[in-house]
């Protein structure tokens, strides 16, 4: 297959760590951009030291978490506490079209790598800074993980059983929303530069970006002063609606019935048991009124079948339903296989393992990661000599002085 080269003319200096910045840069790398990931041995990307590790054996080059977001990038180590490393960083910026960074506000300035300085070196540079709360405002110095960001942004009150302690939304949820906005901002800024010749500085707050995914709740509060209720899996427009236990250990399906036609189809699929004809389940409003009872009835049916079977017969009968998939289910999922969601790539230290593709497919110029993720500093020589044009002697000098650590 011919490799995608949509961004073959785009060069990215990726100073970002963790999820949000690296994931955004990977989108462009998949479609041909040259991305140099800048790290240092004294301060490695936190994902490199986070499980899972290949074979459960820890090591900075063994984390699947790190690798998924950094496929196809070149790895450069720079100890930015050394003045010579800052010179190399500046040469990298001169080479680059785009700089992405996720340090706390003020760190890039301390190094002389802030936008005001970089724009003098490279007048049309596009620079993106992404932090939890943005570059300005009283709380800008806040430090935390994506889970903290998700709590600040309001997600902690959207996930709750009706009768139990609150729970934490899984994962660094705001990172996954934020990374798309960063990729979109970079491409939009490239287009703006194409038309006007001007670069720009972009300040992304992951909390702010993610609040748009709560827009419906924000407007409900603005108009009606309503706040999200502890609905568990229920929804005002559906009944039954939720996760139902199926046969097997910790196996679940979801079912979503909105209209009376869907309800009739659901009843027909489960064999029209007498309870299903009870008038208290006849209309949506009847079913909402008697939802506890309804859910018990539905689960008494699902509990006798494996979830795959429940989904198969409901889908065949025209009722929205799905397996509540775990990672094993997804790895075996025929639709994802058909879309080639997972791709095996060779990694210099741990060999071939699975990476994920993004969720869009282009009909004419498809993209996918071209290499496994870099080991720490794997391409320092390549970046210094081939990309930045240093002589072999200069490179060796930097190496011996510890600049590339």
């Amino acid at each position: 297959m011919e490799r995608a080269s949509i961004f073959e003319d785009v060069k990215i200096a990726d100073f970002s760590t963790s999820v949000v910045g690296p994931a955004a840069a990977r989108v462009l790398a998949d479609y041909g951009a040259t991305v140099v990931k800048v790290e240092s041995q004294t301060h490695v990307d936190a994902l490199r030291v986070t499980a899972p590790y290949m074979g459960k054996k820890p090591g900075v080059n063994r984390s699947g978490f790190f690798n998924d977001y950094n496929a196809g990038k070149y790895g450069l180590c720079l100890n930015l506490r050394m003045p010579k490393a800052l010179e190399i960083a500046k040469r990298l910026v001169q080479w680059a079209d785009v700089v992405i960074e996720t340090f706390r506000p003020g760190i890039m300035k301390r190094w002389g790598l802030d936008y005001e300085t970089l724009v003098k070196i490279k007048p049309d540079i596009i620079m993106v800074s992404s932090t939890m709360l943005g570059q300005s405002g009283p709380d800008k110095a806040f430090r935390g993980f994506g889970q903290h960001g998700a709590a600040i942004a309001g997600w902690g009150t959207t996930l709750a059983y009706s009768d139990d302690d609150a729970v934490v939304p899984f994962s660094a949820y705001t990172d996954y929303i934020g990374s798309r906005y960063i990729a979109i901002a970079v491409i939009a800024a490239l287009e703006y530069r194409r038309r006007t010749g001007k670069g720009q500085y972009i300040d992304n707050s992951q909390v702010e970006g993610s609040i748009d995914f709560l827009a419906q709740g924000v407007l409900d509060y603005s108009a009606n002063r309503h706040l999200p209720q502890r609905l568990a899996n229920r929804d005002p427009c559906f009944a039954p609606h939720g996760a139902y236990r199926c046969q097997g250990e910790d196996r679940w399906c979801v079912i979503a019935v909105a209209t009376n036609e869907e309800w009739d189809r659901f009843c027909s699929v489960i064999g029209n048991p007498p309870w299903s004809a009870d008038p208290k389940f006849k209309t949506l409003s009847d079913r909402k009124k008697n939802e506890d009872q309804l859910d018990r009835r539905v689960e008494s049916w699902t509990a006798n079948h494996p979830p795959e079977r429940v989904v198969e017969v409901l889908q065949a009968g025209g009722v929205p339903a799905a397996l509540v998939a775990n990672a094993k289910d997804l790895a075996q999922d025929p639709q994802l296989t058909h879309r080639k969601h997972y791709v095996d790539l060779e990694h210099s230290e741990i060999g071939a393992h699975g990476y994920e593709n993004f969720a869009f497919r282009l009909s004419k110029t498809p993209g996918t990661p071209r290499r496994g993720a870099p080991c720490l500093g794997e391409h320092s020589a390549y970046v210094c000599t081939e990309i930045l044009g240093l002589s072999d002697e200069e490179f060796v000098q930097l190496l011996t002085e510890g600049v590339l650590e």
Binding site: S171, L190, N326
Partner: protein, 415 residues
């Protein structure tokens, strides 16, 4: 009005989506493109989705619809009529993007698929958003938001281990699909800007939501491990550490972690607890520098957690957060939407945007820009349109239909 210096101000998007794809056009509109929402003559079905302004169900009062169709213009068009198809083709001939979320194959059957529209306009970027993708064994599955959410693997990971997996009560799957579609559209758009060649962008909503699963895929791929739901805790290998704590007026997220990431903050917090007389020898002498994910164990956690549980109950989330900003321990408030709208930090950054809805006699507060630029403003300046509000502008002024013709098309149910 789109300002001439927006990212995408010269470009036009035809938005044929239903709720599965609204977010895509909303984002492209935020970037400054002109978004023409094409609705069936009786209005977009998403207008029936609550909540509603004043809790009064009405197609022009749906807050769900309003939230994701801000910035758009609306024309009505019946794509099942021949005249309707002709009008769509006229619009597509000069548009830059078409986005749609019909059942896979539907537009093709109407003669309005990518192969039809690209003949008229080879540069067009056409983005199709669907639950599982345009092809494959599940392409015609019956879905709702929770069906895609469950299929993504993310729902499995939320909730308590011994209870049902949980979704968020504000549905998320379609929003991920729409945002992914905006990203894919932009990738295809850059190719077209360089080469003049458009293409089809095929987006799967379920696959879009998969990216929120953090390490779930890698843990399976590398070690055949299935991550479990963690409830109010966070798992470190075999050990669990409390992550969500009740406090005086709600909840906070607090990560008990020392080592090079957390020791400094933990020491400061432990000192504060001591100053308020809620500590003892164990906490005073605790080795925070040596306390990280690798040295952590269950026994230690069960001994440590009660100090913080008791202390947090004496403080509000704001007090705890203000101190965290200074001391740098890893804590954040679990904000409600009300907290957000009153948050001084967001206010200082001018995050919120107020738009008037004179027809409804309300002014609504919208979430603002997802990113700020020193050159270009994120656009959010046009309240969501009424049904067919821009028929006269688009059909009359632009396509040149007379008032008489517009009335005739309306009478025939074309627009």
């Amino acid at each position: 009005m789109a300002t001439s210096n927006s990212f995408l101000s010269p470009y036009r998007v035809l938005d044929l989506t239903d709720e599965r794809g609204y977010m895509c056009g909303k984002i492209l509109g935020g970037l400054g493109a002109e978004i023409i929402k094409i609705e069936p003559p009786d209005g977009d079905p998403g207008r029936k989705i609550g909540p509603f302004v004043g809790d009064q169900p009405d197609p022009n009062r749906s807050l769900y619809w309003i939230a994701f169709n801000v910035n758009k213009k609306s024309v009505t068009l019946n794509l099942k009529t021949e005249e309707g198809k002709t009008i769509l083709k006229k619009l597509a001939a000069s548009a830059d993007f078409v986005i749609e979320s019909f059942k896979p194959g539907h537009l093709h059957e109407l003669g309005l698929g990518y192969e039809d529209l690209s003949k008229l306009n080879p540069a067009i970027v056409m983005t199709s958003i669907s639950p599982y993708g345009q092809t494959g064994p599940c392409k015609h599955f019956h879905v709702s938001d929770i069906v895609c959410w469950a299929g993504s693997g993310y729902m499995w990971l939320c909730g308590k281990e011994d209870r049902a997996p949980l979704r968020m009560s504000i549905p998320q799957a379609y929003l991920h699909g729409g945002a992914e579609a905006a990203m894919g559209s932009m990738v295809a758009f850059w190719h077209r800007q360089k080469t003049g060649e458009g293409q089809l962008v095929d987006v799967s909503i379920t696959e879009s939501a998969m990216w929120s699963c953090l390490t779930a895929h890698a843990a399976w791929d590398m070690n055949r491990e299935i991550l479990q739901r963690q409830g109010a805790f966070r798992a470190y290998g075999a050990y669990k550490i409390r992550f969500m704590y009740p406090c005086k007026d709600g909840y906070v997220i607090f990560l008990l972690l020392g080592g090079h990431i957390g020791a400094r903050g933990q020491k400061a917090l432990a000192q504060w607890i001591d100053q308020e007389g809620m500590s003892d020898e164990f906490l005073r002498n605790f080795d925070w520098d040596g306390f990280d994910a690798s040295t952590y164990n269950d026994e230690m956690a069960r001994k440590l957690e009660p100090f913080f549980e008791r202390f947090f109950m004496t403080k509000t989330k704001d007090e705890l957060f203000k101190a965290a900003l200074k001391m740098q321990y890893l804590l954040a408030p679990v904000n409600t939407i009300q907290d957000l709208t009153e948050n001084p930090h967001l206010a200082a950054r001018d995050f919120w945007v107020d738009l008037d809805h004179p027809e409804l006699d309300v002014r609504l507060t919208y979430p603002g820009a997802p990113f700020k630029s020193n050159r270009v403003s994120w656009r959010i300046d046009r309240r969501a349109p009424l049904i067919g509000e821009h028929n006269r502008e688009i059909y009359g002024q632009e396509l040149g239909f007379s008032d008489h013709e517009i009335r005739a098309l309306t009478g025939k149910g074309v627009i």
